[in-house]
């Protein structure tokens, strides 16, 4: 049975594997044992601390198959994208160059370095064993974090953001990096990504060009990559758009991958999540129902699973003994449930940014 739970030090080797096999490699999930160990310790501190407002906490989760004692995926919440350092993005802007004398009006697109996303809570560092791609386990791994945030709103920002890996070509090179970052760093995208993972990204961002970039001066390949996700993340982006995230004007400073944002109250999972007391019933006696994410309400022993959203006429959530055990709940305790399926995606730009 698959379950989401906080990471522990015993997961270190599995995490290393997941970091190494992430497609593409992720800056915020470095394949470096020491760094990962630090992250686990840091995550444990976050789960165990009393926190009243978001700060420099990382909450790292794993997707585990306890019957096989296997870790299949990981995902992280950074309570504040730029808590200790600034979180750098490029913001797509439009400048109007108009001349009355010539009777012309031109829109000139620029990319301007921005720290605006620094305050947002960032969902990041997701890597999944490819065997489970496209399954409900993938959705669970991605969206169980929302179930956690829903329970502990004080620990997170009102605005949530997700940065998707940007477009890479068939040579695994980033056309955007080749046209922009490379001029300033003289290193390949992969090298830079590695350094960024081991150190930090804002550390590198501080050496990025500080003035806005004029899009007409970039290569057509680089321009085409702006706001375009990595091919392996198309479905993931689609799911988050269906969840209620909207594309922002912000893109990643290295590969120009899209950053989607949302006010958390507008997300489907938040709007539809509901508390139910648990009623334990034998597996065979459970009625058929749509799948749902179901989470317990124990902070440092947080668990979230996919099970049927089987409600009794009196509003109790009926769970099998195995599911109840997995969540660590007894009859009568409350669990948070939200439907796993989402309405079809609307690919929209954040109206608040228009």
């Amino acid at each position: 049975m698959l379950v989401i739970r906080p990471v522990t030090l015993a997961d270190l080797s599995a995490l290393e594997q997941l970091a190494e096999h992430a497609v593409p490699r992720l800056t915020n999930l470095p394949a470096n044992r020491d760094r990962l160990e630090e992250r686990i310790v840091r995550s444990q501190e976050a789960f165990e601390s009393e926190i009243e407002y978001p700060g420099n906490e990382h909450y790292m989760f794993v997707l585990a198959d306890d019957s096989r004692n296997e870790v299949l995926g990981t995902a992280t919440i950074r309570a504040q994208a730029g808590a200790a350092e600034a979180y750098y993005t490029y913001r797509q802007e439009t400048l109007i160059h108009a001349s009355q004398q010539l009777n012309v009006r031109r829109e000139v697109q620029t990319l301007a370095l921005s720290h605006e996303v620094s305050d947002a809570t960032l969902l990041c560092a997701l890597s999944l064993n490819p065997r489970y791609k496209g399954t409900s386990a993938e959705s669970l791994l991605r969206r169980a974090r929302l179930m956690f945030i829903a329970q502990y709103p004080e620990r997170f920002s009102r605005i949530l953001a997700v940065a998707f890996p940007g477009y890479l070509d068939s040579q695994n090179e980033s056309p955007f990096w080749e046209s922009v970052g490379r001029h300033f760093f003289a290193r390949s995208f992969q090298e830079m990504n590695h350094i960024a993972g081991v150190r930090s990204k804002s550390f590198i961002a501080e050496v990025m060009p500080q003035f806005p970039l004029y899009l007409p001066l970039l290569t057509p390949q680089a321009r085409a990559a702006i706001g375009r996700e990595h091919p392996a993340h198309e479905e993931a982006l689609g799911e988050m758009l269906a969840e209620g995230f909207v594309r922002s004007r912000h893109v990643d400073i290295f590969d120009a991958g899209p950053i989607v944002k949302a006010e958390r109250e507008r997300l489907e999972t938040f709007r539809r999540a509901a508390w139910h007391p648990v009623r334990i019933r034998p597996e065979h006696a459970l009625p058929d129902a749509e799948p749902a994410m179901i989470a317990n309400q124990t902070l440092s022993d947080f668990r979230c699973i996919v099970a049927r959203y089987a409600l009794s006429p009196t509003g109790q959530l009926m769970l099998s003994p195995q599911h109840a055990a997995r969540l660590g709940v007894e009859e009568g305790r409350a669990v948070l449930a939200a439907p796993l399926s989402l309405p079809s995606a609307v690919d929209a730009l954040d109206e608040g940014e228009m």
Binding site: R106, P209, Y214
Partner: protein, 343 residues
């Protein structure tokens, strides 16, 4: 051959010059109304009827044998006062990080109006029939270029601290500016010639309106374009050499359209201005004559300013002997002062 201020009845002659100069010579468009305005403005400048910061001193090179205009040159008293004067300043930004073992410098172009208020020597044109091997002894090009320094030396208080000259940038064999192709083209809905033409007409406000306001990282430009930064058109090299000999230097400012260099100097440091001196005229028919003119003479009046080559240097520390022809050409007689420059 002599230099004199342009006069109100020079309109036909100036238009003939403009027609010959062609489209590349943007400050002299073949536009009668525009040229008439230019003459009027210049005439008023010499009459000192316009504010000192809005004076265009426009000179012509006159062939006294037939009264024709052989060329022209000008001094803008102060640029950027009426309409903005734009340049790109080539700068360098360091991108450096000890932890990343990184130290790079990136060239940048900053839009600047740093030269606002400086004087400019400009609009030099010499008709082809007055150039070339056959006319080399006349030194007409040097006369047009250097006469302006004598004028500035004589009327130093009418000019600011610095002077500049804009040099034509590099164009390829198809007359295309690689600098424009890589930069300006993206921001101006017109071709180079049209943009240049509007600038020549003094309609420069569109530049500020359409040009990028943030600095340009030159690393985003084509290699050909970067190679043009601060380089002159091959036809402009002799003119650049002449200005360099006077002490004008490239300080990193370039033309926003073609990337050609803007050279500049403190006026008091310009060699011709430092070295020119006043002498008293003595007219004598028996003055000796050098085979090649080395000495440039100019009268000392603004309205009747005249400059031409003369056949010899000063007789002593205070006297210059002129032939009756030379004195007539310069409009001076015995006892008058003239400013001399050895070239």
């Amino acid at each position: 051959m002599r230099i004199r201020p342009i006069a109100r009845d020079d309109l036909d002659g100036l238009q003939a010059l403009a027609q010959q100069a062609g489209v590349g010579f943007t400050s002299l468009p073949d536009n009668r109304e525009f040229l008439a305005g230019k003459i009027e403005s210049a005439a008023r400048a010499f009459e000192e009827r316009t504010p000192v910061d809005d004076r265009l001193y426009f000179f012509v090179l006159e062939d006294e044998t037939n009264g024709e205009l052989a060329g022209c040159c000008a001094i803008e008293g102060q640029v950027g006062r009426e309409v903005p004067f734009y340049n790109y300043r080539l700068g360098t930004l360091a991108h450096s990080s000890v932890q990343l073992d990184l130290h790079r410098t990136i060239d940048t172009l900053f839009l600047s109006s740093d030269h606002t208020g400086d004087a400019e020597v400009c609009s030099l044109f010499l008709r082809p029939e007055y150039r070339g091997e056959a006319n080399k002894h006349l030194r007409n090009g040097a006369l047009l270029s250097k006469a302006r320094w004598l004028f500035m030396a004589q009327f130093r208080d009418r000019f600011p601290q610095k002077v500049l000259a804009e040099m034509r940038g590099v164009f390829d064999e198809n007359n295309v500016s690689p600098f424009w192709e890589s930069l300006g083209k993206h921001f101006f809905p017109m071709d180079f010639n049209e943009a240049d033409r509007l600038t020549g007409l003094g309609q420069k406000s569109f530049i500020g309106e359409l040009m990028p306001k943030f600095p340009i990282y030159t690393t985003f430009m084509s290699e050909e374009a970067r190679a043009c930064i601060g380089q002159v058109h091959r036809h402009t090299r002799p003119a650049l050499e002449m200005l360099k000999k006077e002490g004008l230097r490239w300080e990193g400012y370039i033309d926003i359209f073609d990337g050609g260099p803007t050279v500049e100097a403190y006026i008091d440091d310009v060699r011709a201005i430092r070295n020119s001196q006043l002498y008293q005229v003595e007219v004598s028919a028996s003055a000796p004559q050098e085979s090649v003119s080395r000495w440039l003479a100019a009268s000392t009046q603004m309205l009747n300013f005249t400059a031409s080559w003369i056949g010899r240097g000063p007789a002593d520390s205070s006297t210059i002997v002129l032939t009756p022809d030379e004195a007539k050409r310069l409009g001076v007689s015995t006892g008058d002062a003239v400013r001399l420059l050895e070239t």
